[in-house]
């Protein structure tokens, strides 16, 4: 493998991850090229990049997912490499192959590795051959409904329906009883088709009461591979991760070493190159089952960066340039504790319904040990077409207890008006005794949402603030000679169209 230095790099993504890669480029002296859809002309990644090229209309399949247009943009700009971020084309083997054929370096593993590990049934086969334990299930995707029903019976309920091309909780359904199987199948297929352009699914036994723990790996093209320890991702809702941390409060030194060794066994078997993550389910007896390998940078990579002191995006770029890994396993250690909260444009009071719209005011937290990887700004309109991730709030501290206290402080400082976000939900999690004790599994969020939320808001202060505002509003409108009729107060209601609620309350 020849060593080279990139002078210009195209970022085939949007939102916070595009911003993250552009920042790495800026620090490395590499010119960055953004691509954007018609809905994203004003997006932060376009503003921060050195160059930016339009690649099509708002729907992702007509812009960010168009391999031909992204490659054209790379050629037109003279970019030597493409960083795909996560989602969109990041695990698309034909995109990686098209890059290879066009002589543009795809920052990730080889296209055949992506194909092998990205298709989940072949990934399970490779994992078994590498000696990794896997969750019992069908090794092949199943098209025939009758076969699916009989396989589900064989595996035993509850079962998990999974999109073969899946990730990020899309096309994933937990099925508790035989009667619910076909309905869940229709939804899983339709979501998988929309998200990945492939509606094939397979079955796995659902491991109840398990933890979701993943191992970050890095491998260069010279045969060196290391693991960067674990991330705990059990705080998730419908398989969408909400909070991640490293180290996991559940992982013992013995389990950490065991998972790391399993991860590297698969990395070596497939001669993996660049950054990747192996996801495991770990049950209460600390039995680990390999779930899948994500052949890309993860959303939650910052928690690993905080505890290892490494910059994963820069290392990805250096590996793609043909560099050797600058460190070996013995050089690595987890230091302190890091937590990430994913701030989504979703309303936790309305069952996490999407809440796109304009951000009318924004204050982000600062101070010691706080990092905000954001893709938005004050005045930005969060579009409806893409993932609702607004920002990733990350903290680091010397211990888990201190990191939780710091995250609570940072969440309290984080103020965002105009749209609803998951921030109030994090306040609830971070105060929960089970979370503080590290005593939780993937069912935690469901259990928490079933509990009545304790309100910590000072209601009298809220009433005072609202009454004074209304008082001043009426006085100002009188001073302007506007009749303070009730209808006059409603002028502001135009701006509130996006706060429409489902039906009547009652």
């Amino acid at each position: 493998m020849t060593r080279r230095r990139f002078s210009k790099l195209l970022v085939a993504n949007r939102g916070e991850i595009a911003v993250r890669v552009i920042r790495a480029c800026r620090e490395m002296g590499i010119a960055s090229v953004a691509v954007f859809s018609e809905a994203d002309r004003a997006a932060l990644h376009v503003r921060l990049a050195d160059e930016a090229l339009a690649v099509g209309p708002a729907p992702a399949r007509e812009s960010y997912l168009r391999i031909d247009r992204v490659l054209e943009a790379a050629k037109a700009s003279g970019a030597e490499a493409i960083h795909p971020g996560y989602g969109f084309l990041a695990e698309n083997a034909s995109f990686a192959r098209s890059c290879e054929e066009a002589g543009i370096v795809f920052i990730g593993p080889r296209s055949e590795t992506i194909a092998l590990l990205g298709e989940k049934t072949s990934a399970r086969r490779e994992a078994l051959l590498a000696g990794l334990p896997v969750v019992p299930g069908t090794l092949e995707k199943i098209a025939d409904e009758a076969l699916l029903v009989s396989e589900a019976e064989k595996i035993g309920y509850p079962v998990m329906l999974k999109a073969a091309a899946g990730g990020g909780g899309k096309g994933l359904r937990l099925v508790a009883t035989p009667g619910a199987l076909l309905g869940a199948l229709a939804r899983a297929r339709s979501e998988a088709q929309g998200a990945f352009g492939d509606d094939s699914v397979y079955l796995e036994k659902a491991i109840v009461g398990a933890r979701h723990i993943e191992i970050q790996v890095l491998a260069d093209a010279h045969g060196h591979a290391v693991h960067l320890f674990e991330r705990e991702c059990s705080i998730q809702r419908r398989h969408q991760k909400l909070i991640e941390e490293s180290p996991s409060p559940f992982v013992t030194e013995e389990l950490r070493e065991r998972l790391g060794a399993l991860a590297l066994a698969l990395v070596r078997r497939v001669s993996y190159v660049n950054a990747g993550t192996l996801e495991f389910l770990v049950d209460a007896e600390r039995r680990a089952y390999f779930l899948e390998m994500n052949t890309r940078l993860q959303v939650e990579h910052p928690v690993t960066e905080m505890v290892t002191g490494l910059d994963l995006v820069k290392l990805q770029i250096r590996i793609a340039e043909g560099e050797e890994l600058p460190l070996r396993q013995a050089d690595l250690a987890q230091r302190g504790h890091a937590i990430e909260c994913r701030v989504y444009a979703e309303d936790p009071d309305q069952g996490f319904l999407p809440s796109p719209g304009r951000i009318t005011a924004l204050r982000t937290p600062g101070g010691p040990g706080v990092r905000d990887d954001s893709g938005v700004y004050d005045g930005f309109e969060v579009p409806t077409h893409y993932d609702p991730l607004v920002s990733k709030l990350v903290v680091w501290a010397g211990s888990r207890t201190d990191a939780i206290a710091r995250m609570r402080r940072a969440v309290a400082e984080y103020k965002l008006l105009g749209i609803r976000t998951t921030l109030p939900f994090f306040e609830r999690v971070l105060r929960h005794p089970a979370f503080e004790a590290g005593d939780f599994d993937t069912s935690f969020v469901g259990t928490l949402l079933a509990e009545a939320p304790a309100s910590f808001a000072p209601v009298d202060v809220a009433i005072a603030a609202a009454a004074i505002s209304r008082f001043e509003e009426r006085r100002r409108s009188r001073a302007r000679g506007v009749a303070p009729a009730a209808s006059g107060w409603r002028a502001a209601a135009r701006r509130e169209a996006h706060t429409a609620r489902i039906g009547t309350r009652g």
Binding site: K170, R187, E191, A195, A345, D347, Q350, G351, L353, P354, S355, P356, T360, A361, R363, T384, Y386, D387, P388, V411, A412, E413, K415, L417, L423, P424, F426, E427, R428, S455, F456, A457, P458, V459, D460, V461, A462, I463, A464, A465, A466, A467, I468, S469, R470, F471, R474, A492, A493, E496, A497, H498, T499, A500, R501, I502, G503, T504, R505, G506
Partner: protein
């Protein structure tokens, strides 16, 4: 100036006097001295005694959403004597299901004329890459179901009207 304020069903009579950031309030007769200053667009800083509060204020048709760290409170306000700030909220008549966000209708799960139960799924709407099932706010007969599968809808678009069913 006197208002009837309402927070999640609890009603409070509020009296406000003062100017230029200094206000004397009575909440159900209890006095409260408040020193207010703007803390940038959308944000307000309150000193109540020496206690400092920074909060966000979002205007709603009936009042404000007051945003605290980690939680928010919706305060509805009406001039005193015009009845409860909650008036009109429990009006009888048909219940309307509207789209909470812009999106695309991927499935219609019931049709006009059908009797539905509270919490029954009526339509599935896709937004931000996720499918969301919208449920009947109450039991009754579906009077209108004006959407089709595949249709794009704006926030606030009417999706269903449920009659009382009697």
């Amino acid at each position: 100036m006197i208002f009837d304020a309402s927070v999640s069903g609890r009603s409070v009579r509020v009296e406000v006097r003062g100017a230029d950031g200094r206000y004397s309030l009575r909440l159900d007769g209890q006095p409260l001295e408040v020193w207010v200053t703007s803390a940038g667009p959308g944000f307000t800083s309150l000193l109540i005694g020496a206690k400092s509060h920074e909060l966000g204020l979002e205007r709603l048709p009936q009042g404000y959403r007051v945003v605290f760290p980690g939680s928010s409170v919706t305060v509805e306000l009406a001039p005193a004597g015009r009845g409860s700030a909650m008036a009109g909220r429990h009006a009888h008549g048909p219940a309307r299901l509207t789209a909470p966000m812009p999106g695309r209708i991927v499935r219609v799960l019931a049709s006009a004329g059908a009797d539905v139960v509270a919490g029954q799924g009526l339509v599935v709407i896709e937004a931000m890459k996720m499918e969301n099932e919208l449920k009947a706010p109450r039991a009754g007969r579906l009077q209108e179901m004006p959407v089709r599968e595949g249709q794009a809808v704006e926030a606030g678009a009417l999706l269903a009207v449920i009659g009382s069913g009697d």
